[in-house]
Amino acid sequence: MIEAIQFSSFSEFLAMGGYADKVWPVYFLFAVLIAVNLIAPNLKRKRILKDLKRRAVLGGNGASAQANPDSSTEVQ
């Protein structure tokens, strides 16, 4: 496994055969894609649950959600 690695040192790995300025931005963008589209839905879920809970506490079972449907925009 170790012998099959294409680089003989860590600095060589970072240099990417002279293409460091091309390879690393691609992997950075790729990491952003993965991170954003996994983290964002999780943060949104927390926000939604918090908002729904707040409404449940404020106005009792479901009544509040119907009383002010406009407040759903806060969740967006």
Binding site: G17, Y19, V26, L33, N37, I48, A56, S72
Partner: protein
């Protein structure tokens, strides 16, 4: 069969089932994705002409290939929405559009970076593959803005469903652009079984794994955002209320 179908369309049923399924998708995603990235960065052989830019291609090819699945997915979901008025299908379609836009953008960005190293140019307007992929990004942004422009949820669902079905034509154009027109972008290369070939298993093995990782990623991300959509649209229902109180 019909009972199963209507059950599948029930947001509550989907929410409960996906709660159980999610770990079984997240773990394979973590394993396949990290293996693919390590393989691409450490084990893919450098190309004899293009050096280590071959590592860019693993990401670019996988993201580009899977980006083509968004319009067909949205078209199928849209058809289900139009024919059976299934709310769940529309929720999936709604969340697929921004994710598809991300994929299309990343395809263009990574391709552009690769092109700057390999072709000596970031962009080529005369290349049908590049332009049709840019068009896909604009189409997806169009679907997103169409959705936000129409206030009526049902109308928005129908309009987006129609646009998604029409948008599939562009997917065919993207796919065959490299064959129909003489372009800068290379056609897909036949796979080779021999290890010493630049397109040998050391390379395409990483690509195949990355494609699998991207499908898992799309599945996980779409399930997460669809679950959010369900919580919002069904917030007045008993079961969501119960879920919120239980979370206290």
């Amino acid at each position: 069969m019909w009972l199963w179908f209507s059950k599948l369309g029930s947001p509550k049923w989907f929410y409960e089932l996906s709660s159980k399924w999610l770990p079984w998708l997240v773990w394979p995603l973590a394993i396949v994705l990290s293996t693919a990235v390590i393989w691409a960065l450490l084990y893919v052989p450098a190309d004899y002409q293009q050096g280590d830019t071959s590592r860019i291609l693993v990401v670019h090819v996988a993201v580009a290939a899977t980006s083509l699945s968004f319009f067909p997915l949205m078209a199928v979901a849209g058809t289900i929405t139009l024919v059976w008025k299934m709310k769940l299908a529309d929720m999936v379609a709604k969340n697929a559009a921004p994710l598809g836009a991300w994929f299309s953008f990343l395809t263009l960005a990574t391709g552009s970076i690769w092109g700057s190293a390999s072709w000596g140019t970031w962009w080529e307007w005369s290349d049908a593959r590049l332009v049709s992929m840019l068009f896909q990004l604009f189409l997806l942004l169009g679907v997103i803005s169409l959705r936000s422009a129409l206030e009526d949820t049902d109308k928005a669902a129908s309009a987006c469903a129609l646009l998604s079905i029409v948008g599939c034509i562009n997917v065919v154009i993207i796919k065959y652009s490299v064959e129909w027109w003489n372009v800068l972008h290379q056609p897909s290369t036949p796979l080779s079984a021999t290890a010493d070939n630049p397109n040998g298993p050391d390379f395409w093995g990483a690509v195949v794994l990355m494609v699998l990782a991207m499908y898992l990623f799309i599945a996980v991300s779409l399930i997460l955002s669809t679950r959010n959509e369900i919580l919002q649209r069904e917030r007045r229902s008993q079961w969501v209320q119960a879920l919120v109180t239980k979370a206290n």
